[in-house]
Point group: C2
Chain length 316, copies 2
């Protein structure tokens, strides 16, 4: 038996996930819910469990930031304005030093992403955090996965692969890990994402790896993509620490980047660049949507790159 | 060090729990959030961890119902109309038989409470469930804890103490446990709660035990209460299985009932009874709000009953 998380959800939970108020239910970054004639609510939940999603004895300040950022990233993927979040925190014990650092990291992230803590629950058990986020969009404006069109360009924000590189150094002290901040302090571009409404045709956040996440857009939209590996945005730290091939592999399949991948009609290209420049967001076009299904990824010589890593799978 | 859950939240998390859109933040059953001029969003999250909040090897169907009912109960306490819920499910392994039964219980509860599953996350780890619920109220209509007034009557729905009695028999087969359904299949009165808007002055759901939960209303409202133990609604099963004194103790401090406790001006008494009768809700007046702080609980002879059980505390 090897149920993927996707199969598990589709088979057991999707059947009762709809009422007339649910505009988009299970299967996109956030559920979208009508609550007034002109606004819709976007909501999503993410759980992180010790020793599964983060290492044992992770620093509480960074852990708190990362957990809120990962959940906020789903709001970015919908172009939603953050309203707030709920936290379910399960702890072995109420260690005040740990809690002080955790609350401080959470508070800084809440301030950074402009989303207040709305409520929560603290329980005793193995360390685990569930963060549920809420945001709002104008009715019909939410960026979805299912609306990419052949000919659209494929864009990504930030640089990719650094969070994966951080895993190679997590046993080292933070000051010896060039990628530490990219793992514990991701900064999904929430404000930039809101300005993509009306410009982007589809969007997703990069949590499981570019190929896996772009794959979700392609599948939901019934299209394919050509990706130029030479155009992947790689940080100088990644290029210095790894071979070109390793760096590209981390960028394509690494996960945990919490940047945006979106598609947009070619006509919006220069407008997108201006918006990104204004907000100091690194924005890179890495390819184009095709009618032909599947992802074709080529190197700088135009040779196909093998990619068989399917991204993170929880139950397979 | 013995931090109560309340202290932990107030000290570490309350400081960053507010923006202008947050009408009521941490400290009531749900947070209330303005999202359009005429409606407000009510939201709350509850976590249940195996061997802490429910026994090891709990039946998955009942576990799913109980978990959703417990979270829905917070919406009842606010008089909110349910919109939907998110589920974060952490599992040791993807056991299909277990999941089938769990999804079936969750689906039946979602249908019963009229709230669709909006999204979720499945992760690997020790069995734990976080359910986050959303509901809506007309602006300003949410039932809060802080607005009980001296002279108001204190009401409870359903009968109390049965869920506590169920714990005495959880090792027995379900058919030998008269209280099994009251533990695994609580039915918070969501529809009745919505009709209390405009009639009740304050409300809370009974999750930690009547005295503990009523205590939250009294503290938030700056008042006290006289409670007549002889008027407590006790099921015939509870009265047959336990002494009068034991039954009253379970009703006062047992917890897990997921019924409503609310206060209302005396002038609404008969209207409340009519509403409850129409909806086949058992409704009982058990006392009155006083200016004098604290809870005074008396038996049928008017003698004070000792009560020092503070309800469920997670970290003390």
């Amino acid at each position: 038996m090897a149920l993927s998380e996707f199969d598990l959800i589709q088979r057991f939970f999707a059947p009762f996930a709809s009422t007339p108020a649910v505009v988009t239910g299970i299967g996109d970054d956030c559920a979208v819910l009508s609550i007034s004639p002109d606004h819709q609510l976007c909501t999503s939940i993410d759980t992180m469990v010790e020793a599964v999603h983060f290492p044992k004895d992770a620093p509480p300040h960074g852990l708190a930031w990362r957990c809120l950022a990962a959940a906020a990233s789903d709001l970015a993927a919908c172009g939603a304005r953050p309203l707030g979040f709920c936290l379910a925190l399960t702890l072995e014990k109420a260690d005040e030093v740990w809690l002080e650092a955790f609350a401080s990291g959470l508070s800084e992230a809440a301030e950074f992403f402009q989303m207040p803590l709305l409520g929560g629950d603290t329980t005793r058990g193995g360390l685990a955090l569930s963060v549920q986020v809420m945001g709002e969009v104008a009715s019909g404006a939410a960026l979805l996965r299912s609306t990419a069109k052949p000919g659209d360009q494929v864009w990504v924000t930030g640089s990719l692969g650094d969070a994966r590189a951080a895993l190679d150094y997590l046993a080292s002290p933070p000051e010896l890990n060039d990628f530490y901040d990219r793992y514990y302090y991701p900064k999904p571009p929430l404000r930039f994402a809101q300005t993509l409404v009306g410009l982007a045709s589809a969007a997703i956040d990069i949590s499981d790896g570019l190929l896996a996440d772009l794959g979700h857009i392609l599948e939901a939209s019934g299209v394919g993509a050509d990706i130029a590996a030479a155009d992947l945005p790689l940080s100088s730290a990644l290029m210095q620490g790894y071979s070109r091939q390793e760096a590209a592999a981390y960028a394509l399949t690494g996960g945990d980047d919490y940047q945006l991948c979106f598609t947009a009609p070619r006509a919006h290209s220069s407008k997108l660049q201006v918006l990104a420049d204004d907000q100091h967001i690194q924005l890179t076009c890495i390819g184009a949507i095709t009618e032909q299904r599947g992802i074709r990824c080529t190197d700088s010589a135009g040779q196909p790159i093998e990619h068989d890593t399917p991204g993170y799978r929880h139950f397979s």
